[in-house]
């Protein structure tokens, strides 16, 4: 079940990035992550190399126990040690949201990744295990079901740190209890343009949820993409936490759509102009910074969602959002690139994909 580097990086764009599914005009993806630890073994920040290795082999054995090729929660899962990967390759996994920046920085970690890249397990990140499932569009319950199935399969072989009163024990008390962090990635250009984002950020915080940029804590919301996730993990069941996040998401979808509608009513020519300018720049530019590209993609994505432009499909626009990231560009080029070189490659890649996507 070991995975060669070539397999991992010749994989096409993850299925979830194409973003088809319920409410995909606003919701890009849904993610559920469960933090799990092994009883008695120090958490990753205090463990020694031998203990780190024990956790990896525990997971490896637990997965080998299942029928690898038959359909089931552990089918098509592949283990890769981060120490076997170069820094660029790790960075690509971060860009694809398969591992976290913290995980990529550590030398003793490993990741288990499913062939379609919808399931991944970070081993020896902040907790011994973090099982996560990423689905396109709004599919939180579906993601939880898959996450739970993988969790159950592992639990048959691993003695989880669990307490009747406190639930799953985690390295950071902010995760203790269910150990579950669920999040949705939302494209909210309407709310940003109509200056309502701040008002809604207040609402989100009141409802025990947190809002961040696309790549998590401390990242800016490039391209009007935001991540909203649950804040608390104790005192509610997993389903209750999810339904809270789900109804908040539903509310944001309604607000975003109505902002888009009022923009269409009040300034359609300007909006059309903005969308077509984005198209014009993206199909002709020779140098594109990541920041500019994200803004253009946001404009184009909005245009596609509102039917203002039909030259390109929604899933291609979504995929481009992930293809323009620095590490992916460099992997594609087969070499390290300076920021200036990346901007040139980025423009090239965007041009290629948009002209290929044009019917």
């Amino acid at each position: 079940m070991d995975l060669s580097r070539d397999d991992l990086f010749s994989w096409p764009i993850s299925h979830w990035m194409e973003g088809d599914g319920p409410e995909s005009d606003v919701v890009i993806s849904s993610r559920v992550r469960l933090a799990r630890n092994v009883t008695g073994i120090p958490f990753p920040h205090l463990m020694d190399d031998g203990q780190a290795e024990r956790i990896i082999s525990m997971v490896s054995q637990a997965l080998a126990g299942g029928p690898a090729d038959e359909p089931g929660p552990t089918a098509d899962l592949h283990l890769v040690r981060l120490s076997d990967l170069g820094s660029l390759q790790r960075a690509v996994l971060v860009e694809k949201h398969l591992i976290s920046p913290l995980h990529a920085a550590g030398a003793r970690g490993a990741a288990v990744i499913r062939g379609d890249q919808a399931v991944s397990i970070m081993i020896n990140e902040e907790d011994h295990l973090r099982i996560q499932v990423l689905f396109p569009a709004l599919q939180l319950l579906e993601a939880l079901a898959v996450c739970t199935a993988v969790d159950d399969a592992l639990e048959r072989h691993i003695d989880y740190a669990w307490d009747q009163r406190l639930g799953y024990l985690t390295s950071c008390p902010t995760n203790t209890g269910t150990g579950m962090r669920a999040s949705v990635m939302l494209h909210l250009p309407g709310l940003v343009i109509t200056n309502q984002a701040r008002r809604l950020a207040g609402l989100i915080n009141k409802l025990s949820c947190v809002v961040r940029g696309m790549y998590g804590e401390g990242t800016e919301a490039a391209g009007n993409v935001f991540q909203v996730s649950n804040q608390i993990t104790m005192g509610q069941t997993e389903e209750e936490i999810l339904s809270g996040l789900q109804s908040l998401t539903a509310r944001l979808i309604v607000e975003e759509r109505s902002a888009r509608r009022s923009l269409l009513e009040e300034m359609k020519p300007q909006l059309e102009d903005r969308v077509w300018r984005a198209w014009g720049i993206m199909t002709t530019a020779r140098v594109l910074s990541s920041r500019e590209a994200m803004q253009l993609i946001s404009d184009l994505k909005l245009g596609v969602a509102l039917g203002l432009i039909d030259r390109v499909g929604a899933s291609l626009v979504n995929s481009i959002m992930f293809m323009i990231r620095p590490a992916y560009l460099q992997i594609l080029a087969g070499q390290e690139l300076s920021p200036d070189e990346r901007d040139i490659r980025r423009a090239e890649l965007v041009r290629q994909h948009l002209s290929a996507g044009t019917a």
Partner: protein, 177 residues
């Protein structure tokens, strides 16, 4: 000139902003200028968990062990001291939760509004735990019945609890908790 923020409305004001460490002039419309300088969407004010812990422990009159002169408590399994925990905000291992239980209760209640898990349980623990939860519910009801002098119902409940206790005994070792 169009507003550089929304790129929809005409720009009406010039604002100096620090972008990526560099001072730049930005042309904005009224609406965007107004929302500038206020809290940015996505940029929540953050305090470290260490700071939060310190504030909490103070609030609950549980000053830092070191500050009260009492000896610092330490987890026997991983060696993490309570002092160490308050510095990083991270527990060291599953045993730390037992060792620092008293302090953690306040921390968890502050973070989650509750210090009791009601969600999923490992399957292995599931059978006996469901029994335990069920028994606790029955005991609570029994106490209420006795209080209300509903002795018939209380006797019924007592029998059911006995049955469950017998069932639990027959299961052998329960989960470690």
């Amino acid at each position: 000139m169009l507003c550089q923020e929304c790129r929809l409305r005409p720009a009406s004001v010039k604002v100096t902003a620090i972008i990526g460490g560099q001072k730049r002039e930005v042309h904005l419309c009224d609406a965007c200028a107004q929302s500038r300088g206020e809290v940015e969407f996505g940029g929540e004010a953050k305090i470290s968990i260490g700071e939060m812990l310190a504030a909490l422990l103070h609030q609950h009159g549980m000053l830092h062990p070191a500050a009260t002169g009492a000896p610092d408590i330490k987890c026997d399994n991983c060696g993490l001291s309570f002092d160490g925990f308050t510095k990083t905000g991270k527990l060291g291992c599953s045993e730390c939760f037992t060792k620092f239980d008293e302090q953690l209760k306040h921390v968890l209640r502050h973070i989650h509004g509750s210090a009791r898990h009601v969600g999923r349980m490992p399957r292995r623990a599931g059978g006996t735990l469901r029994l335990k939860r069920q028994m606790q519910a029955l005991r609570d009801e029994l106490a209420a019945c006795v209080q209300a002098e509903q002795f018939e119902r209380a006797a019924e409940l007592r029998d059911r609890i006995k049955d469950l206790e017998a069932a639990e005994g027959g299961r052998g070792n329960g989960p470690k908790s």
